[in-house]
């Protein structure tokens, strides 16, 4: 009987960690300079935040109610399948429509491939 409270506390800690992650991801959205770096914060940190929160909820319901929620597991799987694709598409659309990089950026090997005649001369 002593196992259930431990699992509940693990779930609680996971949810706390997930909410901290999403807070830091929101800070990242505010602080980072351009679209590309912001999408890093948006895709990665918030994916892990959702993962931790759903896993924590799953563990809590399992230990407290004895209820195994398959939908939470499916939710984790679907977030993992879709989040990187969404991040990729948003970044790609931003690049193709010519959004500028921040000034601190280094080199840009992609520019010669997509915009051979210079960035703002097309369209």
């Amino acid at each position: 009987m002593n196992v259930n409270p431990i699992i509940e506390w693990v779930g609680v800690l996971l949810i706390l960690g997930g909410s901290l992650m999403s807070l830091i991801s929101a800070f990242g959205l505010l602080r980072l300079p351009d679209v590309y770096t912001r999408s890093h914060a948006a895709t990665k940190s918030s994916t892990l935040a959702v993962l931790l929160s759903l896993l924590g909820a799953f563990l809590y319901f399992w230990a407290h109610e004895g209820y195994i929620s398959v939908r939470l597991i499916l939710g984790i799987v679907f977030v993992f399948l879709t989040a990187p694709v969404a991040g990729h598409l948003i970044t790609r659309a931003a690049y193709r429509s010519g959004v500028e990089l921040s000034e601190s950026s280094d080199d840009d090997e992609l520019e010669d491939v997509l915009f051979p005649e210079g960035r703002n001369k097309g369209s």
Binding site: M21, I24, F27, G28, R31, L32, P33, D34, Y36, T37, S39, H40, A41, T43, K44, S45, T47, L48, F80, L81, A83, P84, V85, G87, H88, T91, R92, Y95, L101, S102, S104, S105, D106, D107, D108, E109, L110, E111, V113, L114
Partner: protein, 159 residues
């Protein structure tokens, strides 16, 4: 590989019919016996054993979880630092992967891990263009992706 899994299920069903016990535990026993039989007969299959491929998939998942946590830690460090002094950059990476699902899997894994996002795939599907949030050395970044993810995916897909 699908053929071997089907064969293993078939052996498990045969085992259930032979022992006229249709409980699921008996199915598991038959499945394990079938695994042993397929392992003994491994020289007769043209492709490699599905068990080793399954093991490679598990190793890939574990590697991915580890890299995901490391990646988030790295992005935190960049965000929390009082002064934003990162160098974002776009770099190109040649890939050896050929099939579409392998490239999709590789770019999803790259997008979810250490400070990198795939932005563009060249038209001949040979080069991935990746945006990195904080990069010191392009070659070492390419090497680390190649040695971890690409190797693990090749391990899964080689016949």
């Amino acid at each position: 590989m699908a053929f071997q899994i089907l064969l293993n299920f078939f052996i498990a069903f045969i085992w259930m019919f032979l022992s006229t016990n249709f409980a699921s535990s008996n199915f598991v026993v038959g499945f394990i016996l079938g695994m042993i039989m397929i392992y003994i007969m491994r020289n007769f299959f043209t492709s490699r054993l599905y068990i080793s491929r399954f093991w490679a998939v598990i190793k890939l998942v574990v590697l991915f979880m580890k890299e995901l946590i490391l990646a988030n830690f790295q992005v935190f460090m960049v965000i929390i630092k009082p002064k934003l002094d990162m160098n974002p950059a776009f770099f190109a990476m040649q890939t050896e992967l050929e099939q579409d699902w392998e490239i999709t899997l590789l770019s999803s894994l790259i997008t979810l891990t250490p400070g990198t996002i795939v932005v563009h795939l060249s038209d001949d599907s040979k080069t991935l263009y990746i945006h990195a949030i904080d990069i010191d050395d392009v070659d070492s970044a390419v090497d680390s992706i190649k040695n971890s993810f690409e190797k693990a995916i090749l391990e899964v897909s080689r016949s």
